[in-house]
């Protein structure tokens, strides 16, 4: 059985995940460049946000806070038309209902067309006309005018919150990315490698993309296991979460099929409407054919993955305690559902190393299992239709085992792996990560456990 896997990830051109050293060579100029880049993002975000606020939020705020109330008479109804060219051959027309009103400001009579909120714009002329029907000619109603420019008058006030949110989303992202990057650069400026690493604290929080998994408090480089102990078991204390590529594959296929076919539906509707209108957009039809093919393929893949997942059934693993300690003995409960039969089913405890390294423009991750122990092995396993296969076993963690370790590019991970060979289906492999803490420490919140095996320290060897 192959124990080494190499994954070559070719980074997409539109996104590059940067880890570790960003530059080789001149650190100072690299830092300056980094700082200037983030400063540019920060300034761009502030400017963009300022422009949007002044163009959208500021007028709305003025209307709601500075405009003065008055009474007006509706003299006429109208539709304001806005035409936008939409290449290659179409135009988009927007209609905004507006009213001609007469009102008095300090004894001066004004007649103006009202300014409506952006939300009243519509591309459908009939809808715009329908909105006008709510108003009656000759009726008197409340209005608000701009004291600085009395000709400006509105008949409705309020806030379009969604527009505010959308307007601030992109500038907010630019400010966040630029600001955190700039703070990180300034904190690291002029410091040696050890000094930078020693003072990393806020910097780590500000750059989540470069962080390894969170370390358990008080145990540097040991990963937290909170996510592994938040699910109680039905028989034993904890139910371990599964880390299996097939579940992600299923979700991935499902999302892909959903999103892709949504696009196909939109394109199809557009093509159909054009066809009904007597127009044929050949480019659209040419695009639709391959899109449809890919969409059907996505659905087929998703259904196949779903059938596999349901036919083989879920695998559950419960454990008597967690995190684990070297020399500790733990009960595990293996439960396998599904309607088929497994020719073989094995549970193993493994130690895996993972190293990530750059190769030119590629990032490679290599994984290697360096220790494996078979915990339980079964043959010809079959579940009854209304029950599942269950079996208990015991795990003995070696007394001199390395604890779980994680850093930005390297990891040492423990895991329980269930491998099975179902009838008529491909082999399955389901992984349940566990965390092993260093020996000799009290794990916070842990329950009293069985006494650990005494650790034998080998005698010191004579020096050469």
């Amino acid at each position: 059985m192959s124990t080494r896997r190499r994954w070559i990830v070719r980074l997409p051109r539109l996104y590059a995940k940067k880890r570790g050293h960003r530059r080789t060579g001149s650190h100072e100029w690299g830092v300056v460049g980094d700082g200037l880049f983030h400063a540019t993002l920060l300034v761009a975000g502030l400017c963009f946000g300022g422009l949007l606020l002044s163009g959208v939020a500021a007028p709305e705020w003025r209307i709601n806070h500075e405009f003065r109330e008055s009474t007006c008479t509706i003299l006429a109804k109208g539709l304001a038309k806005t035409t936008i060219a939409d290449p290659p051959a179409t135009v988009i027309t927007n209609w905004r209902p507006c009213l001609l009103v007469r009102y008095s400001v300090n004894g001066v009579v004004h007649e103006s067309w009202s300014q409506g909120p952006t939300a009243t714009n519509t591309a459908d002329r009939e809808v715009a006309l329908g909105r006008l029907s709510a108003w009656t000619l000759g009726a008197e109603t409340v209005c608000w005018y701009d004291p600085a420019f009395p000709q400006t008058v509105v008949l409705q006030r309020g806030y379009s919150w969604w527009l505010w949110l959308l307007s601030l989303l992109l500038p907010g992202a630019l400010v966040l990315i630029g600001g955190t990057g700039l703070v990180r650069v300034l904190r690291a400026w002029g410091k040696s490698e050890e000094h930078r690493a020693a003072s990393a604290g806020i910097s780590e929080m500000l750059d989540p993309l470069s962080q390894p998994a969170l370390a358990a408090p008080g145990y540097p480089a040991v990963p937290v296991c909170d996510d592994l102990v938040n699910s109680p078991g039905t028989v034993l204390r904890y139910r371990l979460p599964i880390e299996s590529p097939e579940s992600w594959t299923l979700v991935g296929f499902g999302l892909f099929a959903l999103l892709w076919n949504a696009v196909v539906v939109v394109l199809s509707v557009g093509a159909g409407l054009d066809l009904l209108g007597g127009r044929i957009d050949w480019w659209l039809f040419a695009l639709l054919v391959p899109f449809l093919g890919v969409g059907i393929g996505g659905i087929v893949l998703f259904i196949r993955s779903l059938v596999f997942a349901t036919a083989v059934g879920p695998t559950q693993l419960e454990i008597s305690d967690h995190p684990l300690l070297p020399g500790g003995r733990y009960d595990v409960l293996l439960a396998q559902g599904g309607t088929g039969t497994f020719r073989t089913l094995t549970l193993t405890l493994e130690l895996e190393e993972q190293a990530t390294f750059r190769q030119g423009t590629d990032t490679r991750t290599e994984q290697l299992v360096v220790w494996r122990q078979t915990v339980a092995s079964f043959a010809d396993v079959g579940a009854a239709p209304d029950s599942r296969f269950e079996s208990r076993a015991v795990i003995d963690v070696p007394k001199d085992a390395m604890h779980s370790f994680t850093s930005a590019h390297n990891a040492v991970r423990w895991r329980l792996v269930v491998r099975g060979t179902p009838e008529r289906w491909p082999e399955l492999c389901r992984t349940f990560p566990v965390v092993v803490f260093p020996l000799g420490v009290e794990v916070p919140g842990a329950s009293p456990r069985q006494p650990l095996v005494d650790t034998e320290i080998p005698p010191q060897e004579a020096s050469p």
């Binding site: 080789t24 060579g25 880049f37 490698e193 190769q359 001199d400």
Partner: protein, 241 residues
């Protein structure tokens, strides 16, 4: 407790800048003559070669040599066109006549690369780049590899006198070169694996339990420690001298 020997093929010993730049015959590259050629070409040029042929290493050594002779040098590494703004800023920050060393120039793409090059030309900054293929710059040197080059690289790794011929043999080096089509980086990774497999006394025994310490009695190897490491400006963090 016995300490194990440091794998000389680990990334800390083989990353760009940690290895001396050598030509295909294995001899150290005459950096001074390359700099003269760079001047003759007008100051901007490209180091061309396939994956894992030592371009980045040579670029680092040329940059260090330029800095030693008093020139102002900036270095940037491209991973994708997203890094283009950093290159642009490095060009803008440099003074006229300065040189900007850019690794993996082809990542900038044709359009952005042309714009950056035009910017450098207009502002009289020089560019020294690495690339897998011709990118319109005059070619300073074309990096090629050979088994002799790989052998000479291996000779320069720490502890060579101790482990060569015992844990890694010449045949292993030549085989790694053939297996990876001359890619030195991949070859060094394979030699890493061979070294690890060879130094394990129980590599052919299936183990289900803890490792027996008794098997290491009498084995004492020193981990290579950096006690002569000058971290000068422009040099890698851990310079072996």
């Amino acid at each position: 407790m016995a300490r194990m020997v440091s794998n000389p093929f680990s990334t800390r010993h083989t990353r760009p800048g940690s290895i001396l730049s050598r030509d295909p015959t294995g001899m150290p590259i005459d950096v001074a003559s390359l700099l003269d050629r760079l001047d003759a070409l007008g100051g901007s040029a490209a180091i061309v070669g396939p994956h894992g042929s030592g371009k980045s290493t040579l670029l680092m050594h040329l940059a260090a040599a330029l800095a030693r002779r008093g020139e102002s040098v900036q270095r940037v590494r491209l991973h994708s066109w997203v890094d283009a703004p950093t290159v642009w800023m490095a060009i803008r920050r440099a003074r006229p006549g300065d040189i900007v060393c850019i690794d993996s120039w082809e990542c900038s793409g044709h359009l952005i690369g042309s714009l950056l090059r035009a910017e450098a030309r207009m502002t009289r900054r020089r560019l020294l780049v690495t690339s897998h293929r011709g990118v319109g710059f005059p070619e300073l040197v074309r990096c090629t590899t050979s088994p002799a080059l790989l052998r000479s690289i291996v000779e320069g790794l720490p502890g060579h006198g101790f482990w060569f011929g015992k844990l890694v043999h010449r045949a292993d080096i030549d085989q790694a070169f053939v297996n990876h089509g001359g890619n030195l980086r991949e070859s060094l990774y394979e030699l890493y694996d061979r070294f690890e497999a060879a130094k394990s006394p129980f590599s052919d025994v299936r183990r289900d339990g803890p490792i027996d310490h008794a098997g290491h009695a009498g084995v004492h190897h020193e981990i290579h420690e950096f006690t002569d490491g000058f971290s000068s400006v422009g040099a890698p963090e851990r310079n072996l001298g």
